[in-house]
Symmetry: C2
Subunit: 234 residues, 2 copies
């Protein structure tokens, strides 16, 4: 090893977060998988959009830094925050070597609607992004792949929803993330035969003749299984 043992020779460590939420589509009865981006106010890539993030902090764990950045940038707290990947290609930043530990977060729609937008913080459709700073397009592409893969074998879709929800709301989450229409009857059968959610005795309030039943998630099944790290780093 060249250089001082114990010294990383000027490699900088950053923490960034891909934040997914479902946002209502104007004029449609459906939602759009979206993420907030921050406009860079200085170089490199001044003026381009980038993932929210910042430098790693010596007195915070990585996940604490990700969580703080999320709150500071968007005012949101996440229902789901998990480490995605460490991106460390040599040439990913033009001004020196930066390794970015990237997290991904899911937030509930009401938070995503309330989240402040400003000139330098805006929401974008996850599948239709401009050219971002650094390798952030690749990072979002990878995060989307992980989200869609995980939707098929875990209960992660529930992180987009409130405490209780209708089956139609749950189906809309799957449709927005997977970008395809699902047959309502088939979907109901599949979900009801799984143990992921349970019926409540409540229904949607309002003046409807047959108000839809509310469901909640099954608390005896973990939202996602991280094995030995489940109770360790969050």
């Amino acid at each position: 090893m060249v250089g001082h043992p114990g010294h990383t020779n000027g490699i900088e460590l950053a923490v960034s977060t891909v934040i997914f939420a479902l946002r209502p589509r104007e004029g449609f009865d459906s939602s759009l998988l979206s993420l907030p981006l921050v406009r860079r106010t200085r170089g490199p890539f001044k003026g381009r959009w980038a993932l929210p993030g910042g430098w790693a902090s010596p007195d915070e764990s990585l996940v604490a830094t990700a969580s703080r950045n999320l709150l500071e940038t968007t005012g949101m707290k996440s229902t789901y925050l998990e480490q995605l990947y460490a991106f460390g290609d040599i040439a990913r930043s033009p001004t020196g070597r930066v390794v970015s530990i990237v997290y991904w977060a899911l937030v509930r729609p009401e938070q995503a609607v309330e989240a402040e937008e400003s000139e330098n913080v805006q929401w974008f459709p996850a599948d239709d992004l401009p050219e971002l700073a650094f390798d952030h397009n690749l990072i979002v592409e990878y995060a989307l792949w992980r989200l869609r893969t995980k939707m098929e074998y875990s209960r992660i879709a529930l992180a987009f929803l409130g405490e209780t929800f209708t089956l139609t709301e749950l189906r809309h989450v799957y449709e927005a993330v997977l970008q395809k229409s699902l047959d309502p009857a088939n979907f109901r059968r599949q979900v009801e035969s799984s143990k992921a959610i349970v019926r409540t005795d409540d229904h949607v309030t309002g003046g409807r003749h047959r108000p839809p039943r509310l469901y909640r998630y099954n608390a005896s099944v973990e939202l996602t299984d991280s094995g030995p790290l489940s109770h360790h780093q969050i």
Copy 2:
């Protein structure tokens, strides 16, 4: 953010690798899931066993550093090398903040048998380790969980085997990793109905009356799917 923007305030970046291989058990007709460890020759934790690794290098990608460390420490090349997790708890090193990007590697048995052992490099059974330096016991525990989880839905078991193999050899991989006996007839049915491997026209050579048939993996199915990163970082 406190301090100089763009400066990580003395956080050191390390790269370590959990290397799994199946090693023959002396006196048994089965293999043991094992990993090589390196004895620390200086503090902290002087004299304790630790994962092979070293400091991140400014002119190498993270995976290149992991691959080089693997070769330098054990003389082995990996058939499978994937990023596991970035461990970044504040207090994981007593001499200062160190973030470790950890990879996991699978190597074939012939490599694992040939790999040199020395006073300071030795193989240990993956499920029966001494108290390791730093948080390396937790890291191995997490790597084992990932390996076992992945065995159930991907073709990763094949990374432990050579180009061709018998069904018995494949079953022994599953038995060693999952630590349970599997019914040979059931196993054969399940594997043959999957698309993961294909029959060859060859059989094990030797003087046996009915030599077992050799199989190879199905090259049209990726060993493991890393989505958009598949062709990017290895």
